[in-house]
Amino acid sequence: MPAIPLTDYLALSAAMFVIGVIGFLVRRNPLTMLMSIELMWNAGNLVFAAFARSFGDMAGQIFVFIVITVAAAEAAIALAIVVMVFRRRVDVDVDDISVLRG
């Protein structure tokens, strides 16, 4: 089986990341925004894994574990916040949650 070249992984990762950014910017539902963030995390993970494989260096894969851990923590906090907001309001739109404006 011919090896998939590194550039393909990178292109896929870039595509995932851009989709994540755009999703984060255009969607107003916090759950969708969280999923977009997950997409960006995983774009990064993919790059780590691809380079680890390409260079034969395990450090990249170890980094992926760390990123997954951090992403889990982030998701836990973000979901907690979203649940709290849901309890106070019926429909949730992040543009309405702007009490921290200057």
Binding site: L25, V94, I97, S98, R101
Partner: protein
């Protein structure tokens, strides 16, 4: 260093301070009379110690009588080395004896005089503070600590003149005294700077040993700057206007500070700095001229004033003029002798006047007195003793000391100073007897009821001072100069002979004639022929107005200094202050505010806008990294 003096001299200095602190901090928890006891006892103990130290020092050989008790180093900054030590010699001992001795009598007098005052404790605390500062002034062994004492007595004087702080006039008088005294403080400070510039030393011993290193011109300048200090503190021309106003203070304060001790600090300063003035002819001459002019000037004003304490204030200025003139001529012993007798009879006069004022419920105008011979015989007799003493009638003390100064003026060849001194002697006799006649003779003219209250604590000190005013002059009798011998140790190195033993009978007789003329004219005008007085009043109206307003010097100073200062301050308050001073912080706060408003608009609270900002920022950072940093790095390879 002498062990006995080294042990007890610091105790003399710090006892009154301890008394002041005890009254201030422990006094509030003790009964009212405790502060009086503490104040009197601390000063009395200091007096006893001073007497013991004086007896000890005067038993030493004359050349051993200057004792420098070094207590430590105060500051050591590069070439400047300021020690803290006490200089005990006959000159400072004379002053210390008067400060603690007369000071104690006046403390005792205050127990009765201030008895009804609500700020009784404060009064004694301030009086003790004054005694401490004055002792520091005369005991210090360098110019810096002398200046500290000099400022300290100024502070105590300020506090005590303004003691009745609910009276506007008292507060204004206190402020005036402080400001004029600060002019003098600055003069002394400049003199200290000059000393340091020339010999890198500020101690008495160091400066006086090296007067040769200054050159006459520098010594003259130092002498003149010191004179500025002396003039301000001793109320001499032209900085005297605070003294008559200072009479707003309680009478014991006038007796202690503004008659017996503080105002003679200038005399002490010049006598202490005799190695400078002996080699600074111009400065010494200025001192003598200022003194003689002040003596005559104040005596003329004293002739027309109606406030009993103001008359005494002008007579103080006049008598200190004598002392300043004496020390300026180089007759230091004569000046110190007049200081001693003056402390006795002037404190006596003030305290006797205080009894009168006390009994008349605060009345000080002699036009509203009269006939007090019968109602207050004690006050009359003591006041009369003081009057004949100050007028210079033998054998009372003032005769000997004033005659010594007049003798010296003649002997040292100062015809003009001599003439001024003799004229002032005649005027002194005139205005003092005028005061006596108007206040005590004739019929009572006041509205207030005479309420005679005889208080032992007031009468005992007055009686002691009256006795001293009689016998104090006998320290110098013709051919027997006890006082000069006592002071010999301090003036062994001076230019002119100091002995007062030589008595010029012709001169004394001539002066006596003039004094008698003064007394007789006062008797004529104020007792025998009041009609003549009215005639003279009408004919000399212009002169009388001039003297009543003290030569309008207060008004001249008002126009020259006060009015411009107020104008400048007013202009600053109106124009400079709101725009320049307040404008700067106001502008800064406005700038910070608008910057805050600007950045606040950025904080929208829209999560997605933050995200966009981060994305754009990250994209720009990446672009920068790839194009600039990475490209540059590539070129370097």
């Amino acid at each position: 260093m002498d062990a006995f003096v080294a042990t007890w001299a610091p105790a003399i200095l710090f006892l009154p301070l301890a008394g002041c602190l005890a009254i201030s901090f422990v006094g509030p928890r003790l009964p009212r009379s405790a502060s009086a006891v503490l104040g009197c006892a601390s000063v009395f103990l200091a007096f006893v110690l001073t007497a013991l130290v004086a007896a000890h020092v005067w038993h030493l050989a004359p050349y051993d009588q200057s004792i420098d008790v070094a207590l430590g180093t105060w500051a050591h900054i590069g070439a400047l080395n300021i020690g803290f030590g006490l200089w005990i010699d006959p000159l400072s001992l004379v002053w210390m004896l008067v400060i603690t001795g007369v000071g104690f009598l006046i403390h005792l007098y205050s127990v009765g005089y201030m008895g009804h005052d609500k700020n009784y404790r404060t009064f004694f605390a301030h009086m003790n503070l004054f005694v401490f500062a004055m002792l520091l002034l005369v005991m210090s062994d360098n110019f810096v600590w002398l200046l500290v004492g000099w400022g300290g007595v100024g502070l105590a004087s300020y506090l005590l003149i303004g003691f009745y702080f609910d009276r506007v006039t008292a507060v204004l008088a206190a402020r005036k005294a402080l400001i004029m005294n600060v002019i003098g403080d600055v003069g002394i400070m400049i003199a200290i700077f000059l000393m340091f510039q020339h010999v890198r030393d500020v101690s008495f011993a160091g400066v006086f040993a090296r007067t040769g290193a200054f050159g006459t011109s520098a010594l003259d300048w130092i002498g003149i700057w010191l004179l500025v200090g002396a003039v301000a503190k001793s109320a001499q021309l032209p900085l005297h206007t605070w003294l008559p106003d200072a009479m707003e203070g309680p009478t014991p304060v006038s007796a202690l500070i503004h008659a017996a001790t503080m105002v003679t600090a200038g005399v002490y300063l010049v006598a202490r700095c005799h190695p400078i003035y002996d080699h600074a002819p111009l400065a010494a001459q200025s001192v003598a001229v200022v003194g003689a002019a002040s003596a005559l000037f104040a005596a003329t004003i004293g002739c027309v004033q109606y406030d009993i304490k103001r008359v005494l204030a002008y007579s103080t200025m006049s008598q200190i003029g004598y002392m300043i003139m004496a020390v300026g001529m180089g007759a230091y012993t004569a000046g110190a002798f007049h200081f001693l007798t003056h402390a006795f009879f002037k404190a006596l006069l003030f305290m006797a006047a205080g009894i009168v004022i006390h009994n008349l419920g605060g009345e000080q105008d002699i036009r509203k007195m009269g006939g007090l011979v019968k109602t207050m015989p004690f006050a009359f007799w003591t006041f009369a003793i003081g009057t004949v003493a100050i007028a210079g009638v033998p054998p009372f003390s003032g005769f000997f000391s004033k005659d010594a100064i007049i003798d010296k003026a003649a002997a040292l060849g100062h015809p003009w100073l001599f003439a001024a001194a003799v004229a002032a002697a005649g005027l002194t006799a005139f205005y003092m007897f005028r005061l006596l006649f108007v206040a005590f003779f004739g019929a009572y003219r006041g509205d207030a009821a005479v309420h005679v209250e005889r208080v032992a604590t007031m009468e005992i000190p007055v009686a002691i001072l009256a006795a001293l005013a009689v016998v104090g002059g006998w320290l110098v009798l013709p051919g027997d100069d006890v006082f000069g011998n006592l002071l010999g140790g301090a003036f062994s190195d001076v230019l002119h002979a100091q002995s007062l033993a030589e008595f010029n009978w012709t001169l004394a007789l001539g002066t006596l004639m003039i004094v008698a003329a003064g007394i007789l004219s006062a008797y004529l005008l104020y007792v025998l022929a009041p009609q003549m007085r009215e005639n003279a009043k009408a004919r000399l109206h212009g002169l009388r107005e001039l003297l009543l307003h003290a030569y309008y010097l207060d008004d001249v100073y008002h126009v020259l200094f006060e009015a411009p200062a107020y104008a400048i301050a007013g202009a600053c308050a109106r124009f400079f202050e709101p725009d320049a001073i307040a404008g700067l912080p106001r502008g800064l706060s406005a700038a910070a505010g608008s910057f805050g408003a600007l950045s606040r608009a950025w904080e929208t609270g829209y999560l997605r806008r933050y995200g966009l900002t981060i994305a754009i920022g990250a994209a720009l950072a990446l672009y920068f990294a790839f194009t600039t940093l990475h490209a540059g790095g590539a070129q370097a390879h």
